[in-house]
Structures are given as C-alpha cells and as structure tokens.
Symmetry: C2
Subunit: 385 residues, 2 copies
C-alpha cells in the first residue's frame, strides 16, 4: 500500500491537470498501471482512469471493488473519484465513460496504449454522431511529474533504502564456498521479505566466477569456490516503491587483478555520485563513471548505463546514460533532462570481462536542493568472505 495522503494525491492531480491544459486536453485517459497507482493509491492489477478538470473517473472490475471501497474510507482516499465497475469488457466500459463526458480533445498515453486498443477507441468515436472526442497521443505526461518525488515518496524511499541496506549486511553472511548461486538467491529473497518488503523488486542476481561477466545472469546451480567474485544485485518493493542495490564480494582472498578492477569500478561509482547535483545533465553523471573506466582500460567492459530512476517502477526516468545508449528503456528519456531536486536514481557502474568475471557496485541516491544524498548505506570496501 502506498502512503500518499489524500492531500498529496490532490496535488498530483493538479499537476496532471496543469500538464493536460498545456496540451489543450479536456481529459486524459491513464492506462499505465504505475501512473494509475500514483494518481489514486490503487494497487490492483487492472484499472483505467480518466482525469477531467474536476473528477477522476475510475474503472475497475468486480474483483477490486471491495479493496477500492476500503481505500476510499482511509486517509489515503483518492479525492473526486467516480467509480465505474466494468460491465462487459474494460474497453467497452471505458468507451461508455468517455462518451458520457462530452469532451473534445482526449489525451491518451501513447507509450502504453496498444495499437489494438487505440483502434477500438478510434472506431467507437468515429461511429458516433461527430461529437465523439479527438484522440490525442501524449508522451510521458504523468511520468514527467513522477520523476520528481514528493515528500511522501521521499519518506518511503528513504525507509526502503535503509531497510535494503540492512538486508545487504545480512546477505554477506550467506556467502560461503560450496553454496549454489540459486540457494543464495533464495536466501536473499527471504531476507528481503522478512525485512518487510512486499516482494523482491526484480529477479535477484547472484552471479559467481566467470558468470559474473553476465550483467543479467540468472542464478544457477554453480557452486561458489575459492577466489570467485560474486555479483549480488537485489531490490525490494516497499509500500509500492522500488529500491535496488548491488555489491560484489570475493570468496576468500582477492587476487591482484580483482583488486584493480574493483578499485576502478569503485572510483567510477564515487565520481558519478560526486557529479550529482541539481542543474547537472544526467549525461555528465554517466560520463564521470564512464570516462574513468575508459582511463582504466575498462571502457569496453562497461556496456550498460550508469543508472536508472527508482520509484513505483524499478526502471524509470531519469536514465543516467550516454545520449541514445543501447538499453531499451533509454528511448523513453528526455534527451536534455537536467537533474532536479527530488529525483531518485541508482548509480551502478560495472566492468564485465568475458571468461574472467565482473564487478558492479550500486547505490541509490536522492538529488537534494544543493547536492546529493546517498540513501543506501553499505560498505563499499571489497569484502573477502
């Protein structure tokens, strides 16, 4: 359950209405699940919302009516909510609700609505008497508001990051020679849940030895052995918000090459964090890590971005990357997005050497009025366990 108060939701609605007005929209259909949650506190898996200047029309099906009712009786109730329970299909109900509003320009979320659903809406409104709304594609309208966390969100993310740090300190106790990656991943997931998270935020990564060279390895039956490097990357969802942390540890004494690569990645991590401040470009933060790794001869070994935004989604804006980098989410970022206070994102440079292994070090940071606050608090020393 997210903890945004009704007053916070009301402020968010106002920001969305302001954005809609700037696009001359009479209403906005919101279909992206995390945007719906952001605007209503509703955590169910199926709903659609139409935001108008004075109402939040909310469509869900029978399964969630009782849960919504409970929400609406709580201090986290969504203001101005007008419920329509699905009758027939979601799309038929949505079309009915929209038809009843008499709006002229209706925005929709073009990065979420599929071509099929769009065609259904378009057909419904072109069939009408000519009074149906024009469908206007919008991009990232709610996401641009979400990128800057409000007070309620920062409180939650701070708590979540502190909890995850506690989990990490326990996770180090799980590392021992002979244990399988899979078994350790399971132990991490248990620690995440026992700590009070709703669930792991993504499939936990435990990648050991040469497998540490795969940035997105699935934990397998490989057993940890002496001198392995082990990348441990895990996250949790707390009150609907995601946090994310990576440490790389050595099983037993680390060799010289391990120390070199680890030190290079750690320095890249520290440089990136020192670069974070309001007004800076997100690309400058990426460059701080990347340039250092390049200097160390590890530029080609660092194939992903330096970080990603955290919030209701585990990967959201801002993307801390090179301009037009290769990861799929990168397409979504504003090219010129400058950092502003209230942004929360990861800093997670890495170096991956096929056949040898890899190192990644990740923390979660908040952009403050004057600089940066590191929300996670776990040693970055190379642990030899």
């Amino acid at each position: 359950m997210p903890r945004a108060s009704s007053a916070t939701l009301r402020r968010r609605h106002q920001l969305v209405r302001d954005a809609a007005a700037r696009h001359q929209l009479d209403a906005l259909v919101v279909t992206t699940r995390s945007n719906i949650l952001y605007l209503t506190n509703f955590t169910g898996s199926a709903a659609a919302v139409v935001v108008t200047p004075d109402k939040v029309h909310f469509i869900t099906d029978f399964r969630y009516v009782t849960a919504l009712d409970t929400l609406q009786k709580s201090p986290q109730a969504c203001p101005d909510l007008e419920l329509s329970v699905v009758d027939g299909t979601y799309d038929a109900t949505l079309i009915r609700v929209i038809g009843s509003l008499g709006v002229g320009r209706l925005g929709f979320e073009a990065s979420n609505l599929t071509v099929s659903r769009h065609a259904l809406l378009a057909a419904a409104f072109s069939d009408a008497t000519g009074t149906g709304p024009a469908l206007i594609p919008t991009e990232q309208l709610v996401e641009r508001i979400r990128v800057r966390k409000d007070e309620d969100e920062i409180v939650t993310l701070r708590q979540a990051a502190e909890l995850l740090s506690e989990v990490a300190r326990g996770v180090f106790e799980e590392i021992s020679q002979g244990r399988t990656e899979r078994d350790i991943a399971l132990a991490i997931d248990n620690r995440i849940r026992r700590a009070g998270f709703e669930r792991p935020a993504f499939d936990t990564i435990v990648a050991s030895g040469p497998r540490a060279a795969l940035p997105h390895a699935t934990p397998g039956e490989r057993r940890l052995s002496e001198n392995d490097l082990v990348v441990l990357d895990f996250g949790g969802v707390y009150d609907s918000y995601c946090v994310d942390l990576t440490r790389t540890v050595s099983v037993g004494r680390a060799g010289e090459r391990v120390r070199e690569v680890y030190a290079a990645v750690l320095e890249a991590h520290d440089r990136a964090i020192r670069t974070v401040q309001p007004g800076r470009s997100r690309f400058a933060v990426d460059a701080a890590a990347r340039d250092w790794l390049t200097t160390c001869g590890l530029g080609a070994a660092f194939g992903h971005g330096t970080g990603h935004g955290l919030g209701l989604d585990i990967h959201e804006d801002p993307r801390i990357t090179r301009p037009a980098a290769g990861a799929p989410g990168d397409d979504a970022g504003d090219a010129d997005q400058a950092l502003t206070s209230g942004m929360v994102f990861t800093i997670e440079p890495g170096a991956y050497l096929p056949g040898w292994g890899g190192v990644r070090i990740e923390d979660d940071v908040l952009v403050t009025e004057h600089g940066v606050d590191v929300l996670t608090s776990v040693t970055t020393d190379l642990l030899e366990l």
Copy 2:
C-alpha cells in the same frame, strides 16, 4: 530455461510462417516477450524478432549476447537465427533490420506494439523512397498457435503441475491459528522455490476469514483464527511454464454454512471438469460451473471466469468464461474458440460473500484426444486444519 528442442522450434516457426502466409505477410515482427521465448527459447527481458520465410532475425542488446551465444551452442538452439546487436536504440536497430529485408507487407502484433512504437516505425518507412514495407496489424497470430501445447510443452506442464501438487501438500502443514497471512504466504513462496520452480508465477494469495471474500486479496497482517476459511492460491514457473492451484481450508472445525458453500463450489468445479472435451465450447465449461452455483443461490457470488489458459503466461487463451465477461484478459479470446487437444487451462470456480468469506477450488487440466486429464493431484476434500 525452456526445453523445446531445435526441432520443436523449427515446427513452431513453420506454423508461424503458415499463418503469416495466410495473411499475405512477407515477414512478421514479434515484440511480445512470451512469443519471442516460444519461438527462440530466449528468456531475456529485451529482444525483438522478425520472422521471414527463411530466417529468424533476432535483435537484442549487449547484456544478452553471452546468454544467447550459450543457447545457440545447446540442443535448444534456435534454427536460422540471425543476430543483430542493438546499436543506438532498439527501435532504430529494428528499423535498420527491417529496411534491409526488402519486404512488402510486414505484420506486427497490434495487441503488443504501442501507438508510440508504431508511429516510429511508420515514420521511418514513410520517409523512405517508397520501397519501405506496409505495416499490417495482426491479432493473436502466435498466441493462436501457443494455445495448443506441443509435446515438449506438455511434458514440462505435467512435471510442473506434479511439483506444485507436492508443494500444496506441504502448504497445508503451514496452516495454524495465530499465524499471519503474510507469514504463510512467505512460507508458500519458499516451498515453491525449494521445489525447483524458478519463481512464484504471481503474488501468492492467502486470504482468511472475511478477507477470503476478496478474490485478489494481498496477504496482510491478519492472524488466522478458529473457524476461518482460508483461500490459498499460488503458482510456480518451471522451465518458463506457469501452473496455478487453489485450495480453501478451514482453521479448525468448519460450520454448516461453510460446508454448504464448499460443497457447492466443489460440485461446480467437478461439473466444469467433466464438461471438458475436444470440440466443446469453452463457454459450455464455464456454464457448467456457473449454472450449478446459480442453482445453489451462489450465482451472484461468482463474479469471475471459471478458468484461464496456462503456458508461458499465467493468463492466456483459452479463457473459460461467459461470452464477453468482465475480466480484462477476456477481450483477447476468440469468441467461438472450441476446445482442442493440447489445451491446458485452470478450472477455478469460487463463491465470495462480502463480510463472510469465500471459497475457491482450482486445478489445472489438459484437453486430451478424447477427454480431459487433470494435471494437479491434491485432495479436494474440505480440510480442517
């Protein structure tokens, strides 16, 4: 890792090519993640595929290149695969690959591709010299093939259902007065993983007492108490395939009303299963359960469909529902879909009485040449624990 052999993948490709040919398509862009997995055995989170008459063009980014390489050296290698590593963005790379093919009619998956991505492709090909392809929306082209499981899939689903049944028998030992829903859900998830599943297939439901009236309840801090009914709904992903099971148990002696409602739901469950055979309408299976519950005065208490297909997705076709029922996935089903051998789906009628509680009983079934095979094997007697 799914276990489809290269020969099985080749057969699947042929079925897709046949379907594409029926729609006069020269190539098909596949963007739905589970469809990509079905056609290639690739389990990563980001990729795009273009199927042509003689190639499977495969686009992924740097993070997955090593994993793909390992796959391609295995007996599960994807035949005729031609790799393009993302350079710039996914969409830019996809546009380059498509542009190099010189195709005339290019199908895309309209229920997956967003309006934004479609606009990018359309812009790229309308800018061209007039030789760019026409973009043709398709619906459920790969999904219609997936609905009928092949031998490799049936082997996996049988094993998965048997494993989940073993888990269920252990889960009953976790039920005791005073324990919280959340604690039991955690124990269930651990059993799922320890049994060899990759992960739970969805957020495990433990809904007790009056909360059992919420079909999609989130496990909370409520403690089990004497005479509670507890709905336990959980599933696992095994070799990428999903199975799903629900039992409802009583904490201590069940009262008379509990016995009545339980017996009604169980009879609905049994009637639905007895109705399953090739050639039957999926609606007839739903009606068998629903009509019985209506006879018992519980028609209004059964607000969801009787079942859903299982496979690479936890909810897929066939939808065992009323015609045009309310759940969001229902929109996707073929209205007149008759059951055929090789279909695998759940049978899960329920009755939910606000303020009182609820009962749901769910098994997974396979349509055989002549009838039905129940893949899960757990007692349906009302357990008093």
